[in-house]
Subunit: 220 residues, 2 copies
């Protein structure tokens, strides 16, 4: 079951690294093996992203990731589908512009259920938070090759603008590597979302530990 | 909000005609105009079926149909997406083999929320009911041109077999016209689902009244 309502600072800390799955990039052990390695290395949050499979086929993987994240004490988010998230007892859902709007999802989400929303626009981010989003995913910060429908890279200045404009954690996403994590945090992001950097690496645990070392020491 | 738990006999009566939307078939007024005419003519249930639009774009129509069905005292079902159904306060969802499984949906559906499941197999129907389905959609009873992914027509004998095998209402679907409604009820179905017969008719209210006249007089 979802945790009780999480204050923004505590949530921010749990979002300092969000590992997002991508079955096209995962090695021979698949998404579950990468997630397992990432969690053992201390990843505090995993988001299951499956854009093209019917819900029935995503469900077993979602349940498995729920088990792994629960054991690790990490958050589990499901991309796009709040129904899947609720069915497996995930901590939250991550919604985008085509999905069920935040306010509509909040209408039936249980207390404490987390809702993230993707936008690179400060006004849209404020509106999403006002309507019930707990955090914002903002990007693509850098050029990325793991998602086809993103616009051009927004850069860290725009990321900083979005981070300043909401009283909620903002997670940078898109082309973020260990080397770039420092400037993502410096821009005011609460965390980094990693897709390819973790999924496509033969040693995902090592990458996760490097990401976590890049978190500023004064981090809340 | 959904009604309190409905006993099978009372539910069966409300499922005696389920008007299923299809935007490709609806006239110039669109799905909402056809649904409105059908409801004014006494249709006791409407199912919103939108297979190809993103949830955000379906939401306004779903809300409008919720208003229309509530005013008419009719049931509203949403096809495939329980998240949309919950967001608009629909009475239920209709799930198919690719969707979230019935048991997974039941896990977070509020009390009294109705779940339908599509199958033409008696054992699968029994299993779905055991796992929490309130009714079964069974077809295609006759050859149909409104849905591309249905198998060959199953006929009324198979429909009767499914109807006998579950202690829950079974709604026949697929190619059902007013002329065929009598034999669908005779096969033991609790109701008829109509897609093309209502959606594509220039006088949907007239067709709905004709369907309702075809309901056996001894009906529960």
């Amino acid at each position: 079951m979802p945790a009780p309502t999480t204050p923004p600072a505590a949530l921010a800390r749990r979002l300092r690294l969000v590992v997002i799955t991508d079955r096209r990039l995962a090695g021979p052990g698949g998404v579950a093996a990468v997630a397992d390695a990432a969690l053992r290395a201390g990843a505090p949050a995993v988001q299951l992203r499956e854009k093209h499979l019917p819900p029935r086929d995503v469900l077993p993987l979602a349940r498995h990731l729920r088990d792994l994240t629960r054991t690790a004490g990490a958050l589990l988010f499901i991309n796009d589908r709040i129904d899947l998230a609720l069915a497996v007892g995930a901590d939250g859902v991550h919604l985008g512009p085509d999905d069920l709007p935040v306010q509509a999802a909040r209408r039936f989400a249980p207390p404490g259920f987390l809702i993230g929303y993707s936008t690179d626009d400060p006004a849209t981010a404020r509106e999403a938070v006002a309507r019930g989003a707990d955090y914002i995913g903002c990007g693509a910060v850098y050029a990325t090759w793991t998602k086809a429908d993103t616009g051009p890279a927004i850069g860290v200045y725009r990321l900083a603008e979005v981070a300043r404009s909401v009283n909620a954690p903002v997670v940078g996403i898109g082309g973020i590597t260990v080397e770039r994590a420092g400037e993502v945090f410096a821009a005011g992001a609460a965390g980094c979302a990693a897709v390819g950097a973790v999924m496509a690496d033969p040693h995902p645990g090592r990458i996760v530990r490097a990401f976590l070392r890049a978190v500023p020491s004064g981090y809340s």
